[in-house]
């Protein structure tokens, strides 16, 4: 009898443990599929998913399939999966450019209901810098969990810019002090000063600046980063004339051929002359190599340069890197008055993809895939991913920035970066550049993510390239872009796109500003 009692008690206990275990692992036994940029098992964006896959699978009992997709096929694969309602992917990690299509067609689901749900790992959307936070949202709803923050910043050679001989020669030639450029004029002068002479003593002429200018290879981002301060007029709200770059949000008329843009393209072409002609055929990664190998004085790019500089296989400039936000212009064109304003204009950018996970509305495992994204978005884990360098996740969260680069406002630690092999000064300059871009600018360039954005970007990309090889003048090139954009707007529906554009840029709302919490 006693044995039976113990047996029954054992069975009850066993069942209770089982129930508790099942409650703790509500998605156990399921399999989810994630479509992600193909960076490899230890590469950008996909790498961290591989790195934490096993730990997350053990925690949840879910099996995670990772499907890597090359950059240029990513939008097509995702859209095709959704359009055909195949539902192969439970979630995906796309470039933010395709948000417009995803939201407009209800292909992704908002994550707001789960953010405070105790069943899931905790993360805070407000950790992300205000302008980037907006890229994770649409129409007041949160769609993505914190992951990457992309922006273009300026990189230079600290040793070269501090070399007394170079400083003296520069002062003699240009009449002011050599430093990492803070204005477009300085950028043009410094890149010209270092171009086409052998300043590293390897017997070959070196370059002032290197840029990737190949078509269909992210070259357009470089014009956009350069042009922002010529065009974006700072103001307290996002309206018809302030804080806009691509379209007049009231009418959806393109402003891509406004005098600000034309002057920007003229100066951009001047800048590209201060580097090798070969860069007209270089993609993004090709343009990094001359800088990392010590053959170029300047470049501007996403965060990868900062993390690659520490890698001895790729870089000869560890301990020689400095960085800053994209240079300001000394004038900008005000469309409201139709006049140029002679004032320093510091405009931050959000260029790049700001990769983050989104949940397919076709998925039957929406909570399970959200659990994965939330797991990676937890503060200590995401900070660790950011410090890896190889993970392609760039700094943008408040906890990524040590106090010494953020006026005491960031909560990160430089030690974490040093443990991953960063040089102290390289890392501090790199992080400070990002901090200034996200938190200290006068305004930010908005991000084009409305339906039709890929076609618009392709048109811009091609005509900029045509201007760079002198097949079109800057004015002709941008007029052609404006014409083609107008056709796209008319084709897709002006009213529909106007609404989408206004929603995507927060039209009528206060412009994003950093307020320490």
């Amino acid at each position: 009898m006693k044995a039976v009692r113990w047996g029954v008690l054992g069975m009850v206990l066993f069942s209770l443990v089982g129930v508790a275990f099942a409650a703790a692992r509500p998605f156990a036994g399921r399999t989810i599929t994630l479509g992600v940029f193909a960076g490899g098992t230890r590469g950008a964006i996909s790498g961290p998913f591989y790195y934490f896959r096993s730990a997350w699978e053990q925690l949840t009992g879910v099996r995670l399939n990772i499907v890597e997709i090359p950059f240029d096929q990513l939008p097509t694969k995702i859209k095709t999966d959704l359009i055909t309602r195949a539902g192969r992917f439970d979630g995906f990690v796309p470039c933010a450019t395709i948000y417009g299509d995803l939201v407009a067609n209800n292909w992704i689901v908002p994550v707001d209901p789960w953010i405070r749900d105790p069943r899931f790992p905790r993360w805070d959307p407000n950790d992300m810098g205000p302008p980037v936070r907006q890229l994770y949202r649409w129409g007041g709803r949160q769609y993505g969990a914190n992951y990457d923050a992309d922006a273009w910043v300026l990189y230079g050679r600290r040793d070269l810019l501090n070399d007394p001989k170079e400083k003296a020669a520069f002062r003699t030639k240009y009449g002011y002090e050599l430093r990492l450029p803070r204005t477009i004029k300085e950028l043009l002068d410094v890149s010209e000063f270092f171009n086409n002479r052998d300043w590293n003593g390897d017997g070959r002429a070196d370059f002032g600046i290197v840029l990737p200018l190949k078509v269909s290879a992210q070259g357009f981002f470089f014009y956009l980063a350069f042009a922002a301060p010529y065009v974006v007029v700072p103001g307290p709200t996002v309206d018809e004339y302030h804080n806009v770059f691509f379209f007049n949000p009231r009418t959806m008329e393109p402003i891509i051929n406004s005098p600000g843009h034309v002057k920007a393209l003229e100066d951009y072409i001047r800048l590209t002359k201060n580097g090798p002609r070969a860069q007209l055929g270089w993609d993004l990664v090709e343009s990094w190599d001359p800088f990392l190998k010590g053959n170029a004085a300047l470049t501007y790019s996403p965060g990868d340069i900062g993390s690659l500089a520490k890698n001895p296989d790729r870089s000869r400039i560890k301990g020689k890197l400095t960085a800053g936000p994209m240079p300001a212009s000394t004038e900008y064109y005000d469309r409201r008055t139709g006049r140029w304003v002679q004032r320093l204009n510091r405009v931050g950018n959000l260029l790049g993809c700001s990769w983050h996970g989104l949940i397919s509305s076709l998925s039957r495992n929406q909570e399970a895939i959200y659990h994965l994204f939330a797991y990676l978005a937890e503060r200590p884990r995401l900070f660790q991913i950011t410090t890896f360098g190889w993970g392609g996740v760039d700094p943008g969260k408040i906890y990524d920035f040590p106090p010494e680069v953020s006026n005491g406002q960031g909560t990160g630690s430089i030690q974490a970066y040093l443990r991953q092999g960063f040089d102290r000064q390289d890392a501090l300059d790199w992080l400070r550049a990002y901090w200034q871009n996200y938190y200290e600018m006068d305004a930010w360039q908005e991000y084009l993510r409305i339906p039709g954005a890929p076609e618009m970007i392709n048109s811009l990309d091609l005509h900029i390239s045509q201007a760079l090889v002198r097949r079109e003048t800057p004015k002709q090139a941008l007029d052609a872009v404006a014409r083609e954009w107008t056709e796209i707007v008319n084709k897709l529906g002006r009213e529909r796109l106007r609404r989408a554009y206004q929603e995507s840029i927060g039209y009528g709302r206060p412009a994003p500003r950093y307020r320490p919490r």
Binding site: P75, T76, K79, I83, D101, A104, N105, L213, K214, V215, S216, A217, P276, R277, A278, Q279, L280, G281, E286, P290, P451, G452, P454, E455, N458, L462, H463, S465, Q466, L468, V469, R471, E472, K491, L492
Partner: protein
């Protein structure tokens, strides 16, 4: 009667296959070319608007011109080189099998891999060609950054890959020729040039037409090399027609317009092929 029935039953899979995978897509895309459809909203019937747009589209005109230049340069160069190589290798030689294998090796490379190989080969600062030119004291060549030379680079890669195809076809043709006409011409005192012009070329005419047609069709369809090596640039200087159609269809999802472009493309290729065959028939009197 029963045999008659079985015959039709046996034919059914083939007919089904053709109807499903050839006729249906052709009819579907033809209908699509008269509509605007981006997959996210219902198709809209627009009549011939897509064809009118294509005829007025400067990028389509450019793509057509680039494709014509590419086809002209590659077909001519590959057939000539392939023929010369075939003549050289059509003789007893030591190690002939190995040499033939080496010559045809590029044919087995994937075009997209070849494009990436080309990116390294034509790298203007650190590529092997740049180093070679520097060592020889020759001026720098802007392989991929100049609109004119960029197309030349794509052409060069295609020639490198596809000359072996022409070589193989011509070599097979030469080896299949009867010996008597050649021997008779030599006995009659024909020189090398006369032998080539009046005996070999007429006898090889069907082989030449076959190689020409195959290579013409392949060159017109070129996509991978331009896509991988130059992305269609600088500007739109290497944007061939297939690449432009790919962009309209699979990057911008303008499926109606992409279908119209495809049908115009198909018409041009068909016209080109028919023209070629008629011209060759006229020249050589062969069927």
């Amino acid at each position: 009667m029963r045999d008659e029935g079985i015959k039709w039953v046996l034919l059914l899979p083939a007919v089904g296959w053709i109807l499903t995978f050839t006729v249906y897509p052709l009819v579907f895309s033809l209908l699509l070319s008269f509509q605007n459809w981006n997959l996210t909203s219902p198709p809209i019937w627009v009549g011939a608007a897509n064809y009118v747009r294509a005829l007025q589209d400067p990028r389509m005109h450019n793509a057509l011109r680039i494709t014509a230049l590419f086809v002209g340069a590659t077909v001519l160069a590959e057939l000539l080189l392939g023929f010369v190589l075939a003549l050289l290798f059509h003789r007893p030689m030591r190690g002939i099998r190995l040499l033939r294998a080496v010559v045809v090796a590029p044919l087995f490379a994937s075009p997209i891999a070849l494009a990436f190989l080309g990116m390294m080969l034509f790298h203007e600062e650190d590529g092997p060609l740049a180093h070679l030119f520097r060592a020889l004291g020759l001026p720098k060549v802007h392989w991929l950054s100049d609109p004119t030379t960029a197309l030349g680079s794509v052409v060069l890669l295609d020639i490198w890959q596809w000359t072996p195809f022409a070589f193989l076809v011509f070599l097979a043709g030469l080896e299949g020729l009867p010996d008597e006409p050649v021997e008779a011409a030599i006995v009659d005192g024909a020189g090398r040039w006369a032998l080539l012009r009046h005996v070999l070329l007429p006898l090889l005419a069907p082989v030449i037409v076959t190689a020409l047609l195959f290579k013409f069709i392949y060159s017109v369809k070129v996509f991978d090399l331009a896509f991988g090596l130059t992305g269609g640039g600088p500007g739109i200087s290497t944007e061939v027609l297939a690449l432009y159609i790919h962009r309209q269809g699979l990057e911008f999802f303008n499926l109606g317009y992409a279908s119209a472009l495809s049908y115009l493309f198909l018409s041009l290729v068909s016209a080109g092929c028919i023209g070629l065959v008629l011209r060759v028939r006229q020249l050589y009197g062969h069927s």
